[in-house]
Symmetry: none
Subunit: 219 residues, 2 copies
């Protein structure tokens, strides 16, 4: 191991909003039900006559009420421990949709999350985190994350790429820095990712997952 | 910054063909309509009795005519600023499908694009670019790209991996080189990506997006 641990170069706070009126993350597809008899959800149209027994994709807006009643989080998605098929994890109560199904292993969620300098959503914006996360374990405890932190402000395009497995509900996850551009040209390194409870000062009608990302870089 | 800027190691021209008779990119899934009430399209089976009015995934071959009439570009996908829901961006006219929807935020497109040494599709082929791009912003202005440039010609397998955010409609985007094999073993670096107007000498019945990729490598 390096004798002198690299001191953290900088911190990013990532806000991932699911459901509600202006989500920053969208579950795109996934297998409903448990891993072994899941079907790909077929979205129920709004206003058209839906096919007899289309399986509604639980998304927070306008689809069948297969979302968590309280904060509209699509079941079994997100970074905050929404469990699959009805388990109740750290306070976020999830219930099955009327069809008894929730999104499970393999859900692909596309993100355009907000990066700020401090834990509060209203603190100084740094840029956007764009990419995907994929539910990568049968018990719903991990998400494979691949995204680019696009940091505005620099004269040219300062981006940092992250890749790795986020462990929902655990105090610390590690992602790798797989590259960078502009100021972060040829960067490599890793990031310590810690979930925080959103301060809630900033009124949000979706479910916010807040991640503190401490970036250690080596060029 | 390094004192001596790395001189561009080499150039790749990437041809991304959507729609038409032999597309090199295929939109696999995505949310129809705008980000807030999108549904996942349901691919129409061929040969089975399809559900009465499943939402056809807008792809150019054999699906409902939900593609751009002129060049068969699936709506709201691609690297050339095909806007969502009917806007008309830099000349590519997109109209809504009969169901009034076009693919939006979160569209996942799989690519097997053609790499050549010069801007013309007919110039000397270098290999293939295989991977995915994902529409990673609500306004459709960026695509997260993750692909491998597989360069034939070398005695063994020369590959280069790229990851980052492509900004549709902007003159320059930056992707990172996240690794390589064969000749590019242990490579890192970045690439400047510029959109070009295809020369059109080579008859193409789909919509071509042409990217000039200038690769700067460090080993």
């Amino acid at each position: 191991l390096d004798p002198a641990p690299e001191d953290p170069i900088f911190e990013l706070y990532m806000h991932d909003l699911l459901g509600g009126s202006s989500p920053t993350a969208r579950p795109i597809t996934g297998l409903l039900g448990n891993i072994y008899n899941g079907q790909v959800p077929f979205a129920k149209q709004i206003g058209f006559t839906p096919p007899e027994n289309g399986i509604a994709i639980p998304n927070a807006n306008g689809a069948l009420p297969t979302v968590n009643g309280i904060n509209g989080v699509p079941l079994g998605t997100g970074l905050s421990g929404t469990a699959y098929s009805g388990q109740n994890l750290n306070g976020i109560q999830t219930q099955l949709g009327p069809d008894g199904l929730s999104l499970g292993f393999g859900t692909i969620t596309v993100i355009d999350d907000i990066l700020t300098s401090g834990p509060d959503l209203g603190s100084q914006p740094l840029g956007k985190a764009q990419g995907v996360y994929v539910a990568s374990s049968a018990d719903g405890s991990t998400q494979m994350m691949a995204f680019t932190a696009m940091l505005e402000g620099g004269e040219y395009n300062d981006n940092l790429n992250f890749y790795g497995i986020y462990r929902i509900g655990s105090a610390m996850s590690h992602l790798s820095v797989t590259g960078g551009t502009g100021r972060f040209k040829n960067a490599c390194g890793f990031a310590e990712v810690r979930p925080l409870i959103p301060s809630g000062q900033h009124e949000v009608d979706g479910a916010e997952s807040l991640l503190r990302i401490i970036v250690h870089l080596k060029y």
